[in-house]
Amino acid sequence: MNTEFKDHSELSDIFNKDEARVDWHDETLWFVRAKRDKAAHGIPEWESLREAASQIKNNVLSNLHDYLVEFEENARKNGVTVHWAADAAEHNQIVHNILKEQGVNRLIKSKSMLTEECHLNEYLKKNGVEVIDTDLGERIVQLAEEPPSHIVLPCIHKKKEEIGDLFHEHLGTPAGMADPVFLTAAARTHLRETFITRKAAITGVNFAVAETGEFVVCTNEGNADMGAHLADVHIACMGIEKIIPKRRNLSVFLRLLTRSATGQPITTYSSHFRKPRPGQQMHLVLVDNGRTTQLSRPDFRNSLKCIRCAACMNTCPVYRRSGGHSYHTAIAGPIGSILAPNLDMKEYADLPFASTLCGSCSNVCPVKINIHEQLYKWRQVIVKEGYAPAKKAMAMKVMEFTLSSPFIYKNAGKAGRWFMKHAPFTVNNKLNLWYDHREMPEVPKESFGEWYNKNVKND
């Protein structure tokens, strides 16, 4: 781990310095999880729906080549220009080139985690193109010059007073005004002006249908539609895994997506873009950026089934108490922790360890990704590839040596003594990391083994 780089544990440490704020963050997201539970429990066939979604996505991954070709052909027939990007850099160049051809240097963008993953905003800014994010949460973090901390609720880490301050500074709202209704209205006015004056709009893609060449974009605010339908050029960016075979498969995914995400029965807008409107240009960028590598890993490929609902984040007791930024990657939380090591195993070596493996993430996942099992498996890979800290590796070897031998184990000392030195909660770090906020277990006068030898063995 290089020195200027803070890992999940260090960043969580900082986040936890303000306990009241952690409580607030945890409660806010637990509220979303509770809404998800209520929505799911309102659908008796919920578990069969999850199974159906999982199987459709398994089919997609197993037939992705043909579906991509089919989708591209149909999209082209519909009048959409299809581009292919091997990585983030190529994606950003493609988008920039389209804008240059159109002579556009100001654009609006609705939510797209892919463009976050590719750091498109920074790239375009460097190249003199102004990007305004139109999702309210994304606009807020953009004004704050921060990345989103959550894929569905980008500014969930911000208090309304902080948002009020930002709006006061950037949008001229009255100082101290922190009412969500007032602030949202201010953003509406500000962004409507933007919608009216920008000639290019970028959107993400939730689903792309191979059979018809159409793609579906889901929002609650209507910002993707406002952008796309007013702009002369619509650029939609998607990872290659977003394909689904048939239009009717959307019924399964749209029933699951928003109930899992926020507990709503469906997003306000589920828009199916098939053809550009007359006079409009529609571009679609298909991005790999490591996805084909993840596809080659049998243990991890089904992370590509993700539909970006964030249910795993809302339910994750670690995410709720460490905040999205502690994951230092575009997609935080449990799903981010199994996606990120594929992109850079060294930089994200800490993330699969930022979990208690409690398994709640896998249970809420609408496409049944075995997230917690993959976290366990990534740990094994990361250690084998040599990205575990050396001290930890040495401690583990000592542990192996002792625990493999009943003789050494029993003679390592009286009850508790060996453990005080080597137990899981003391290895890898100084003892005081347990003791800072917790008492050590009291050492009994004898271990169970010693008691058994005295009291039972020779009965």
């Binding site: 544990s9 969580s12 936890n16 306990e19 409580d23 945890d26 637990w30 429990h41 659908i43 578990e47 007791p317 670690v318 108490r321 460490s322 360890f353 930022a354 979990s355 208690t356 493996l357 409690c358 398994g359 709640s360 896998s362 809420v364 366990y376 990361i382 250690v383 084998k384 575990a388 930890k392 583990m396 070897k397 542990m399 192996e400 625990l403 493999s404 031998s405 009943p406 184990y409 009850a415 508790g416 453990f419 137990a423 890898n428 770090n429 347990w434 800072d436 906020h437 917790r438 008492e439 277990p441 009291e442 050492v443 271990s447 169970f448 083994g449 008691w451 058994y452 030898n453 039972v456």
Partner: protein, 244 residues
């Protein structure tokens, strides 16, 4: 029917009373139970830290200790889950598979194998049940709040047989306590916060005791309770099921 008693290392070293209660309870229920004394650890602490490749010594020892029994029973859902999922014997994988099929956590053994419907136990206290994640979500000892499925709970089924025991309801019935093996020190801040929140849920609902089918979660919560100088105590479920 012979039962091998598998006592995880930290219970052996720190919580002998939980192990004694397990042994006594099984004996009282007429089970022929033995404790193979050459056992150490299932290897989970290493495996969950990414060092599963260092656990073959533990695996070999586990097989050596427990192959002969009809069942292996342990008062730890987490360790049982590790054995169920990760016990391997490259030279004789069938042997490992055999053990993986016959290893049981205590409450599931009492419920599913012994099919206990009555217990001679008395514990006149208000008790909060901590659903340890590996037991609940891994071994499915109880239904999980995330799933749209019929409710059930093996630990609660047993606790309801205990005379005088009053269960307290929690705001979050199956949230993780934050122990997580090496997580408890590697991610100290979050681990402690999770533990504090879990403990608070029990205290706010009037629990005098917090119990669980996993001593490791209780060890973590006990550390926090004692630091807070709380009167609330932790007790392994075997000690309550065995209480007179």
């Amino acid at each position: 029917m012979t039962v091998g008693l598998f006592i995880p290392c930290y219970i052996d070293q720190f919580y002998p009373n939980a192990a004694i209660a397990t042994l006594t309870l099984l004996k009282r229920l007429g089970v022929d139970v033995k404790y193979p004394t050459r056992q150490t650890c299932c290897g989970q602490p290493m495996a969950n830290s990414g060092f599963e490749h260092l656990t073959q010594g533990c695996n070999d020892l586990f097989i050596e200790n427990f192959a002969e029994f009809d069942y292996v029973v342990s008062p730890s859902g987490s360790c049982v889950l590790h054995i169920k999922d990760h016990l391997h014997a490259p030279k004789d994988e069938d042997k490992a598979l055999g053990i993986r099929k016959k290893v049981y956590e205590l409450t599931e053994f009492l419920t599913d194998v012994l099919k206990i419907e009555k217990l001679n136990a008395r514990f006149p206290h208000k008790v909060g049940v901590h659903q340890s994640c590996h037991g609940q979500r891994g071994l499915m000892l109880a239904q999980m709040t995330e799933l749209v499925e019929a409710p059930f709970s093996k630990p609660l089924h047993l606790l309801n047989m205990v005379e005088g025991l009053e269960l307290v309801e929690l705001s979050r019935p199956d949230e993780c306590c934050g122990f997580g093996g090496t997580f408890c020190v590697a991610e100290e801040a979050v681990s402690v916060k999770m533990g504090k929140d879990r403990v608070a849920d029990h205290i706010n609902h009037g629990a005098e005791y917090i119990t669980a089918a996993d001593m490791s979660c209780l060890m973590h919560m006990e550390g926090i309770l004692r630091r807070q100088k709380s009167n609330v105590k932790v007790l392994h479920i075997a000690e309550i099921l065995n209480a007179q």
